[in-house]
Each structure stands twice: as C-alpha cells, then as structure tokens.
C-alpha cells in the first residue's frame, strides 16, 4: 500500500513540475509566435503587391501600404495605391484545415495571387497546393461567375484552372474554399461600398 501511495505522489509531483515548466515556456514564447504568424500573413500580402520589405521592418512597411478595413467581422486588406483587396480564405482540406490569402486585382474579379499559409494535405500529392508553381496557375484567372478547378480545363475560359494531378479531392475542396470565401467577402464589400 505504501508503495502505491509513493507512486501516486511521485506522478503528481512530476506532473505538477512539468506542467509548470510548459506553462512558463508558453508564456515566454507566446508573443513572439503570434508576431511570427502575423508577419507570415503580412509577407503573403506584401508579396502579392510586389512591395519590398525586410523581415525586421515588415510591420512598418505593411502599415504604410496596406489599410486594414473591418466590415461585419470580415477583415479586408486594402492596397492604397492600386485599390486591390486581399483577404484570408479558409476551408476544410482532405486531412485538415487549409488557410490561405486571396489577393484580387482592383476589378475585384481577377486573381492577382494566392498564398497558402497552412495546409495538411498529402505530401507530394495534394500538398502541391502550397507550392508557388502550382499557385501561379491561378494568376490572372477570373472569379466570374465562379472559379472551376478541372482535370481538363479549357484555358480559353478565364474562370477555369488546372487541377492537381493525384490530388483530386484536395482540388475539389480547394475550389469550394476559394469560391465560398470569395463570395462571402465580396458580397460584404459591395454591400458596404454600394458597388455594382
């Protein structure tokens, strides 16, 4: 019996000490990790407008060129010089959430650039979704009436894009994510600005 009590006491003490250590380290690194994630988002947006920056002064450059506009809980990143918009789109991938940034030209229909911030798709197949050479296929495509990601796209139609070879389910979910994100954000934007 004595042995069992000793064991339980040991486990409790061990748990308490390790928890305290982890809480401490988490508190110490929390702020920097949040800043890093913010910098990642900012660099995705600045890259879309081809604005130069260094990692140390990214926040200042971002503030200089980009205006953050919040309408009905939706956050828009508005490029002052060109009138283009960026916003964060999210959706479910095959294995986990996909989070990315969609940047539109000032006509608010043509895709300027897409960057993926987070994905857990199958490496080598659906994982291609975060690679630049694949995302470059979306540049200049139009969201009107909706983007179609197809295995055999007719590239003469401005709203069709080539799907990922070997990543059919990822492509399907990516298509839903882009279109839903686009429609919900643009509807809010036009409602607030009285456009179109």
């Amino acid at each position: 019996m004595n042995q069992h009590i000793q064991m339980i006491v040991f486990v409790l003490i061990l748990g308490a000490i390790t928890s305290a250590l982890l809480v401490g380290v988490d508190a110490w690194t929390e702020e920097r990790i949040a800043l890093n994630q913010q910098a990642e988002l900012q660099s995705a947006i600045l890259d879309a407008y081809e604005i130069e920056y260094t990692i140390t002064q990214i926040a200042a450059v971002f503030e200089e060129h980009i205006e953050i506009i919040e309408i009905e809980d939706k956050i828009f990143y508005y490029h002052r010089d060109s009138g283009s918009l960026s916003f964060v789109i999210e959706g479910n991938g095959v294995w986990g959430p996909i989070i990315g940034v969609l940047t539109l030209e000032s006509d608010l229909v043509t895709i300027k650039r897409i960057t993926i911030l987070q994905e857990e798709e199958t490496p080598g197949l659906g994982g291609v979704i975060s690679e630049r050479w694949y995302l470059d296929k979306y540049v200049g495509r139009e969201m009107d009436p909706a983007l179609i990601i197809s295995r055999s796209p007719n590239l003469a139609n401005p709203n069709e894009v080539d799907a990922i070879a070997g990543g059919t389910r990822t492509s399907e979910r990516f298509e839903i994510m882009i279109n839903e994100g686009f429609q919900s954000y643009i509807a809010v934007w036009h409602a607030a600005n009285g456009g179109q």
């Binding site: 390790t18 250590l21 110490w28 990790i33």
Partner: protein
C-alpha cells in the same frame, strides 16, 4: 602523455562510445525515421540534430537526477513525460525564434518524443549513472546523431539542389538530382554512410 592518459578517463570513453563504437544511427540504427526525413537540407539537419542533442542531454540529466525516486513500475511513463516536456520546449523555441526552420521541420520536431535514441539513453544509461557521466553520454549520442545527419544532408543537398546551406556551390550547368531530395535519396546515402562507419569501426554483425 596527456593524450594517452585520456584513454583511461571514463568521460572520454563514454563520449567516444556515443560518437563511434555505439553511434546511435550507424551502429544501433536508431532514430532512422527522422534521419531520413530531415536530411534533404543541411540547415534542417543541423536544427534537428541540435534539437535532439538538447532533448537527450536535458532528459537524461533529469532522469539521472531523480533516478533514485522513480518507482520502477512507472519508469517508462516518467521518461515519456520528461522527454515530451523538453520536446515541447524545443518546438515552442523554434516557432518563436526560427519560424522558417520550424515550418521546414514540420511534424518531425514533435516526433523527437518517439526518437528511440532519447528513450534508449534514459533507460540504458541515465537511470543507472550519476549526472556527470550522463551529461557526456547524452552529449556524445546527440552529437553522434547530429554529425551523421549533417554529413548525409551535405551529400543530399549538393546533389539535389546544387547548394550548401543555400549557397550555390555547383556550376550553372548542373542538373539537380531530384531523387536525392526525396525519400529514396535518403535511403541510398544513409545506407552508404552506415556501411562506411561500420567498416571504419570494424563493426560486423557475425552470425552466431
């Protein structure tokens, strides 16, 4: 004369053991999963190696410190809790200060928890030895893992990308060997390294 006397010091022999005769990767063939995965670039290999070195030293020292109090029945669980805590510390540290490397290593930092080298040293050495020797054992095993990783990564990065630590070293006309960046490249290079190290240390697995 001092060099000769070094051979009779315990800490020297423990260190030599981890680096050569009992090298965790080449001789014991532990921790192969992460060794194959992160050796496509030298910087990833260095970061992973230092991460494992830190975890194996820290967790072995902790196990050694409390070795008299650990109840025998829960000792494996105890090692796991200690190792997992240090791995989370490494993960948070990388995310905070080296976010690009953290992103490149991805899930493999978290998987240090299941790296057999760390668990193996805790059970085989730290649980029975005082802290000062445990430190050398952890350091030697961590560095033994690191240097094999870095050497493998050197070969793979040069052939796969034509670079070392992202600096171009191969001439312009060099055609990248894409296979070296993928898993098969890791198997080829690692197997050749294990062969070389086993030849050099005269380690043969004789049939009984």
């Amino acid at each position: 004369m001092k060099l000769i006397r070094l051979r009779y010091k315990k800490w020297f022999n423990i260190s030599k053991d981890g680096l050569t005769q009992n090298n965790p990767i080449a001789i014991a063939v532990l921790g192969i999963c992460s060794a194959l995965a992160v050796t496509n670039r030298v910087e990833n290999a260095i970061a992973m190696g230092l991460g494992v070195t830190f975890v194996v030293i820290a967790s072995s020292l902790t196990v050694s410190l409390i070795r008299r109090f650990i109840p025998a029945r829960v000792r494996m669980v105890t090692y796991m809790v200690i190792i997992a805590s240090f791995v989370i510390v490494v993960q948070l540290f990388l995310e905070a200060y080296f976010p690009i490397i953290a992103a490149a290593l991805g899930a493999y930092v978290g998987l240090i928890i299941t790296n057999c080298i760390v668990m193996g040293r805790a059970e085989a050495f730290a649980a029975k030895n005082p802290m000062r020797y445990t430190f050398f054992d952890g350091l030697a095993n961590g560095l033994g893992y690191t240097y094999v990783l870095v050497l493998v990564a050197l070969v793979r990065e040069i052939l796969a990308f034509g670079t070392i630590l992202n600096y171009q070293v191969m001439p312009d006309g060099f055609v990248n060997w894409t296979v070296m960046a993928m898993a098969p490249g890791g198997f080829f290079v690692l197997a050749i390294f294990i062969w070389i190290i086993r030849e050099l240390t005269n380690n043969y697995e004789l049939q009984q």
